[in-house]
């Protein structure tokens, strides 16, 4: 029953696809190929391999996993650094007064401006891409962690102090858990940012990856290819976001129940 209702909610999707197909065929503009052509191109680009490998071909293996690894690697590194620095700034009023203006300034720099800088620094390669991703996505995580660590219930901290919890224990058992919802909000924003930066860093300096395929398709005026890569990027973004929400629901479930009982 639930499944049926779920499917029922998707009724507009096939309608849109059919209308899109008919409209693009009627239009006949090369820049807007019909969805069937895009799907066919996607099959050619990534799914011509043997059935034993689920039809995934070599080009898909050579391009998609490296992109995803760089994206997640950069994001995780930014998460680690961002949460650590954020907690520091959030718990120390002096540090936050000293460094907050710098943080806000660096955050205001549009990351693409620094692409050429990282390109000069690392030359073309994964280091440059990961550096771009880290620099671009660290700010929402840092600022949200600092905000979460700053606004902790006074009572919780005092209770921890009365029970004689050490500094480390307070960090792990009180500060970090109460900052988690805010940290996750930052992590979610930065995950979608990481996808954008992955694409742009691959468009500028790369010899493999989804962004490189996009560049390749554009250079050879392969319009269905451009559309196909955009669709695959949308699918990737959708999957990343869904996976993140699933993890968040698990991690934060205690938080919701804790809020309900108080």
């Amino acid at each position: 029953m639930i499944v049926l209702r779920r499917i029922g909610r998707l009724w507009l999707v096939p309608v849109v696809i059919v209308v899109w197909e008919l409209a693009t065929r009627a239009l006949g503009d090369d820049s807007f190929p019909p969805p069937s052509t895009i799907a066919g191109r996607m099959r050619e680009m990534w799914l011509t391999g043997p059935p034993s490998r689920l039809w995934i071909n070599d080009s898909a293996i050579a391009n998609i996993p490296p992109s995803v690894v760089r994206l997640l690697g950069g994001w995780l590194a930014a998460a680690l650094a961002g949460v650590t620095l954020g907690l520091l700034l959030g718990r120390s009023a002096l540090l936050s007064r000293l460094f907050e203006p710098i943080v806000h300034f660096l955050r205001a720099i549009p990351p693409p401006m620094l692409l050429s800088f990282f390109l000069a620094l690392f030359a073309i390669g994964p280091e440059m891409q990961v550096a771009t991703i880290i620099f671009g996505v660290i700010w929402p995580i840092l600022i949200n962690s600092a905000d979460g660590a700053r606004t902790i219930d006074r009572q919780h901290l005092d209770t921890a102090l009365v029970f004689g919890l050490s500094r480390g224990q307070r960090l792990w058992r009180v500060i970090l858990p109460s900052a988690t919802p805010k940290i996750f909000a930052g992590l979610r924003v930065s995950l979608s940012l990481a996808l954008i930066l992955m694409v742009i860093s691959e468009l500028v300096g790369s010899t493999e990856g989804i962004g490189y395929q996009l560049l390749d398709a554009r250079r050879s005026y392969d319009r269905p290819g451009v559309w196909a890569t955009i669709v695959i990027l949308g699918v990737l973004g959708f999957l990343l976001n869904s996976a993140f929400l699933a993890v968040e629901r698990r991690v934060l479930s205690w938080h919701r129940t804790a809020k309900q009982t108080t």
Partner: protein
């Protein structure tokens, strides 16, 4: 006591932090800890940035970038606010459209530069169309989110006095949603700036701060140019954000909008 109160001054501490960082970078560059070929001397960067302020070519580039940015943001607002009002007031339409927006939203807007470059011949249109696509989402989501927050009693009161749905929208829903829309526009302004600069970097063209950086890439002190231009981009980002915050505070003093970054 005096020293203590000095460290409690927010502005002073911020200035101290900035000065400290600049000195550290300069000392690092002079002593050779930071290779000047990797990161240029910060004094040189600041001096270069200062000359930009009176460089007509650079100012023209900034004007070009800001024009595309403003056009993109304005168009995005004109599209997203009515769309958000429709989706926010008609739950059935929203439920039907949701799967489609859920798929469109995670598509990295950067990828659309390649598509826009194939569709539009005019560089200005590439920049604006990509900025519109990327900055539409925060405005749309904030508008819908704000409509959910409208006081139901106020709406019901108007309804029971015989006001038409349009009047309810105009007299209650729209004013109480306005602060959320403003927050959405502020978030969108940062995204639009990133996208305009990215489009300049990726699609080339003859004017804009991104093009300026690209052209500087060939010169001997390219790094100094790039970092100095990035500083200015940061200043623009800070100023536009500050301007929007100020406007929000002025216009909506009666309402403190939630600044969610979804």
């Amino acid at each position: 006591m005096r020293v203590r109160s000095l460290f409690e001054n927010r502005v002073l501490c911020g200035a101290l932090g900035v000065a400290g960082l600049l000195c550290l970078l300069e000392a690092g560059g002079r002593t050779g800890v930071i290779d000047p070929l990797v990161f240029p001397l910060i004094s040189g960067v600041v001096a270069r940035a200062a000359t930009f302020a009176i460089d007509p070519e650079f100012l023209a580039d900034i004007a070009a970038t800001l024009t595309a940015w403003a056009a993109g943001l304005l168009l995005a607002t004109l599209i997203a606010v009515p769309a958000g009002l429709v989706l926010g007031t008609m739950p059935r339409v929203e439920a039907a459209v949701r799967p489609i927006t859920e798929f469109l939203r995670p598509i990295p807007s950067i990828a659309l530069v390649s598509l826009a470059a194939l569709v539009f011949a005019e560089r200005f249109n590439i920049k604006v169309s990509v900025a519109v696509y990327g900055s539409m989402w925060p405005i749309l989501i904030n508008t819908m989110y704000g409509l959910k927050d409208v006081d139901p009693v106020a709406k019901d009161t108007l309804r029971s006095f015989g006001f038409s749905p349009f009047d309810v929208l105009r007299r209650v829903s729209l004013p109480s949603t306005a602060p959320f829309i403003a927050t959405g526009v502020r978030l969108a302004s940062a995204i639009a700036l990133i996208l305009v600069i990215s489009a300049e970097l990726l699609a080339g063209g003859s004017s804009g701060i991104g093009t300026f950086v690209l052209e500087a890439g060939g010169s001997i002190d390219a790094l100094e140019f790039i970092v100095a231009a990035a500083l200015w981009a940061g200043v623009i980002g800070l100023l536009s954000n500050g301007l929007f915050v100020l406007l929000e505070r002025r216009l909506f003093r009666w309402h403190r909008a939630r600044t969610e970054t979804t």
